[in-house]
Amino acid sequence: MAVLNMVEAIRSCLASEMQRDERIILLGQDIGVNGGVFRATEGLQERFGEDRVVDMPLAEGVIVGSAVGLACSGLVPIPELQFLGFGSQAFHQIEGQVARMGFRSQGRYPMPMVIRAPFGGNVRTPEMHSDAHEAKYANVAGLKIAMPATARDAKGLLSAAIRDPDPVLFCEPLRGYRLIRDEVPEEDFTVPLGLARMAREGDDLVIVAWSAAVVIAEKAAELAAAEGYSVAVLDLRTLVPLDSDALREATARCGRALVVHEATLTSGFGAEVVATIQEEAFWSLEAPIGRVTAPDTPYPIASVEQFYVPSVERVLAGIRAVMEA
């Protein structure tokens, strides 16, 4: 198996899916000649032509909105938002259209669409490029949301998302594009949507995380081991569907849980994880579930982002707090 970083895994997945299914069409800003600002689509226009890898004008609303129409015509569009933060410009199309068209048309126009969008901190971007908006989309009924934390999952979940008949928002961690590297099977495979991954086993406490926060969680768990705490890390992989079985089982085993995410605290998806755990495994809980998140402030200027994005130290402190509660 080849070791790939996440952007390589995504690129190779897109290529093989496009090869497999000629209904697939990519659209987005700077994805053609430039190969995407992070090179996720590098070489694809050369290979599949300008008709299937389409440079779009600078307007997120119509990048997503025209994808709705492309899907109605029978194609499988994969629009790219250059950054998830600019998905807000397309929010009405995602929330009001993509997520509802199947329902509205009573099945006549399903939306087999994947919206790809990078996000996430600690890469020194300008304002609004790093924000973790996943909770806002998780509250949109009709969407599914994938947030891979490994290169292997990036490929397997992206293939699954493309083949899934429902619309999927596929969030890619900017920091992971180069830094997350792991073994990725060359052959065709999918990772089913809705199945969490136990990234690390442990008995005392389970950290629930997704996307690049899983890496932080794993490091903190490692350090906690030195303090005598056996900490598991559960990578949700997808927020919708949410793997409540895995949440229940991990909590039943550990009795204590901590959620870690890059998004702001209030109404972040961590709240849903907490609510689900206490619904599913209330009687197993030995302490309040902790949350280590960004504060309730906008993503800041790069010079202070290390105070904003949950760090290994803050997660470790969170582990201690839950363990000592």
């Binding site: 909105g65 025209s66 129409g69 194609l75 599914k144």
Partner: protein
Amino acid sequence: MSTPSDPPSTESPLSLLASDGTLAAGHVPALDDAELLSAWRAMLLSRAFDERCFSLQRQGRLGTFSTVHGEEAAVVGSAWALERGRDWVVPQYRELPAMLHQGYTLTRFLQYFTGDPEGNQMPAGVNVLPFQISLAAQLPHAVGLAWGLRHQGSDAAVIAYFGDGASSEGDTHEAMNLAGLRAAPVVFLLKNNGWAISTPVSKQTAAASFAARAAGYGFPGELVDGNDLFAVHDATCRAVARARAGEGPTLIEARTYRLGAHNTADDPTRYVDPAELQRRRAADPIDRLRRHLSGRGLIDPDSEAALAAELEEEIETAVRASEGGPRPGPATLFDHVYTNPPPRVRRQRSEATGEAE
């Protein structure tokens, strides 16, 4: 007003049918007598159906809806330029005759507005997108649809309807700009009916015409008298021909007038000047076409009365057919939301319906 010999204009509306019912000298309509009578029939059906639905709504038997009242020539004239089964209609919510032209039915409309969501499901072969409540959100869809059809080798044209109000949304701009870039086979049919609920066009834009906007996207725009069936049809036929030939989009602004309320929840007496309404009623597109057809001997009061009775019957049949269906139950909340529902949604469905997961 411009005449058939002038080039398409964005300032002076194309006018082919004078208010006295005479056709502009030299204009040979593309509609033959049979087609013309079918258009006439569709306009009368629309008017009669509006009235029937309005009274059903007042009796509490129908939900909030918007009539076509006053805009029949704009909708029918444009839709009659399409070929059913080949071309596509992307509606807002006030274009029932265009949907019917494509194979949608009165019964489904009534079903939908009495509360059965299946009424918004277009049967296979009916090339229509669902009603769109979010103003202008359908325009990006129309462009994507047109682009996608062409991508797959079709020569279909897509007509997208929207209003003077919807024109102000960002979606309208983004969609038109993309359409120009991709030379998408789409006809943007802007029905300027004077109002967006209570907002007059004078508060919607300072532009002299909406049609002029097309130049900013690199394709032609044309202003037409929207109460003139022939003018609307003529402009739309040319736009559809351009679309099929791969020449790209066209924007048509059809100037018409909303003779009724915005919808059944609206009270236009709060904001419409009665004298203005009186003047506009005198320009009713149905009356104008009647003068024309009578003048040519294609209809007379007897034939119109017979037709009215036939339409009444058609409407009653639809009303009866839409009634007495099963009341939708809680499963309706869930069906078609997802093709593969997440387990949580399956559980919610089972809790709500009592059915197994």
